[in-house]
Symmetry: C2
Subunit: 377 residues, 2 copies
């Protein structure tokens, strides 16, 4: 993997760059649609590519390991071959899901995490080493370190101990990753993850440790877990100022359109979040004119397109009134339309941000566009 | 509406024709995907047109009347404008749903049917006259008479009384339909429905009555409700022999690929059924090689396309193994892929049937293709 830093915005810490992978280039800043179980929910691969113009999607180690399982993925020739997405894929390490999904059967020790499958209750054990092997077998282009994602709020003592274990796990991840090879003939890279909850001292310490590992890209985890946005921005800025400038920076699980633009301004290059697809299924639409709750009465006889300015098939073909009907009737097509629309908007937003960075006008544009897209319509 | 009978098959009663409507021509025999609530479940309008190559879709009066409601549909300029499907639409009269969905609150009298909404329990009253007005307002190209669909089995006395009421209702439907006009500038036509359960005498009597009304097309209802296939075929043949040859014949709610080919051979021109979409959502796939239950273990590592012979985006892009994973994981994309696939197959099948009729080879082809597509893979 190679990162070209193309431009630094003169009025903020925003950057435009290009991440090169063996499955193609990614123009940063970028938003990565979440495809937890090997599918971006309610979206065809053709739509991801042609309508949404996604450049990289996520998969999730925990889900894919449980179903379809590694034997199937390996027989298929890796996740790209399995799901037909021939562009870059990043896999989340499974750490977050082991904590959030696996419930009471979970036990964290220095060695790793024992957990129960949410599908059939079967017992499994993830270690930093096994999670590297699993992601090698899934075949992601970008592999995430196995970490502990602390909840919010989190007391200082637990946050420090957890961060220290995450650092020790990272050393084990790097050793295993560097001692193994890609199984599918293309290169894979490992991103370590900064933790430290909302404590500046810990975040600084973690960022310095992560930077010292000298990997090809770096991530920030443990944010967007319930803390105030100000804390998220403060931690993000502090960490970005420490992480190397010549490597891409990935802020995990963030966020709203505003969170994304604010964090681009602080030096983040990559984002992922379930918000656009999850909210879509509940009828919350992000548009170029503001936020729409399509279930509201006011849209019942609004026959204008969902978002003509945004363009693209679903946003210009289907009306607000029709989409409202579908969402209220719990028709699958409602989830399909809203998901493609919201992801198209997210990719449009980061694409616009990139253009503004290249033109040196990002900071001013950010404030103007936020006034518009933050409106509740 | 105009019907051109193009060819009669020399070795069966199959026919090829063209139904002309103000929203375009329909090549018969044809299968009509069911879009109950104004959407063919899990299928984009673009996919209906370009991938599935649907020529006409169904809407349902009962569902559309309750949600989004006639005010919205009328403000939109009719269902075509509302859902963006600019090709022919046929609406089912709501009779079947009133009986099957509305449960205990239902009461049938000579005047009409009182029923409770399955959505909010509100009370409604459908009469032959109101159902004509409703379908006028929905804006269907082909409007169905309001009938009583008898269950199977049904004793002779009830079947006769019900049929006689359906005939009286038909006269009221025709009077109201002929005394009113299309609201949207294109022509609409009314199809009456033959009833009579599985009793030959009643079916003959009903077919003669329906034929005597001299409408532009005719339908057969009350079949595919649980009776043996032999009874369905016997009733269909008997009725087709009585209905006029120069009008299209529509067999309502039928059926499996085999049912469809057998009934084409008996003189049916139009079909609709929820089977391809409902079965799709449960992982039952109709393919050019046979029937697949994609949940079966044997498909877990079959990375071949769903149906390469059939072609089309979903059937040639996605693998059986991936679709199995999606269906087993209850991912929305599984329903999307399987629905588009099954409908593509159904439209392919009737398209092939038409070509064989035109070539005079239908009867022989039917027996050969059935051997193939009826196989359980």
């Amino acid at each position: 993997m190679k990162f070209d830093l193309v431009t630094n915005d003169p009025h903020s810490k925003a950057r435009a760059g290009v991440v090169h992978t063996d499955h193609g280039a990614i123009q940063t800043p970028i938003f990565m649609p979440v495809g937890t179980a090997g599918t971006v929910k309610a979206v065809h691969q053709r739509e991801l590519k042609e309508d949404i113009k996604a450049q990289i999607i996520l998969g999730n180690t925990y889900h894919l390991y449980l179903r379809p399982g590694l034997d199937i993925l390996e027989k298929a020739g890796g996740l790209h071959k399995f799901n037909g997405w021939d562009f870059p894929i990043l896999t989340d390490s499974g750490g977050y899901q082991v904590y959030s999904l696996a419930g009471t059967g979970r036990k964290i020790t220095e060695e790793g995490v024992k957990f129960k499958s949410h599908i059939d209750g079967s017992l499994h054990f993830f270690t930093p080493e096994s999670v590297m092997d699993i992601q090698r077998r899934i075949g992601a282009d970008i592999i995430m370190a196995f970490d502990e994602c602390t909840p919010y709020p989190c007391d200082f003592s637990y946050a420090r101990k957890s961060m220290e274990m995450t650092h020790r796990w990272l050393q084990r991840c790097c050793e295993r990753f560097d001692a193994t090879e890609s199984m599918y003939g293309y290169s894979q890279t490992l991103f370590p993850i900064v933790q430290g909850s909302t404590y500046k001292d810990l975040r600084r310490q973690s960022a310095e440790f992560i930077a010292s590992m000298g990997r090809e890209g770096n991530a920030i985890g443990g944010l967007s877990v319930g803390e105030p946005a100000e804390d998220m921005y403060e931690m993000t800025e502090l960490v970005c100022d420490i992480l190397p400038k010549d490597k891409p920076r990935y802020l995990m699980g963030v966020g709203t359109p505003e969170n994304i633009l604010e964090c681009i301004a602080l030096g983040i290059d990559m984002f992922d979040c379930v918000l656009p697809t999850r909210n879509a299924r509940h009828g919350i639409l992000y548009t170029t004119q503001g936020v729409i709750n399509i279930r509201n009465e006011k849209w019942k006889d609004d026959f204008s397109p969902i978002d003509e300015t945004l363009g693209g098939y679903v946003s210009s073909f289907y009306s607000k009134s029709y989409l409202r009907h579908l969402i209220k009737s719990e028709e699958i097509l409602g989830s399909q339309i809203a998901s493609v629309h919201n992801l198209t908007f997210y990719l449009w937003l980061v694409g616009q941000a990139r253009e503004q960075i290249l033109a040196g006008t990002f900071a001013q544009w950010k404030n103007e566009i936020l006034k518009k897209i933050n409106q509740r319509l």
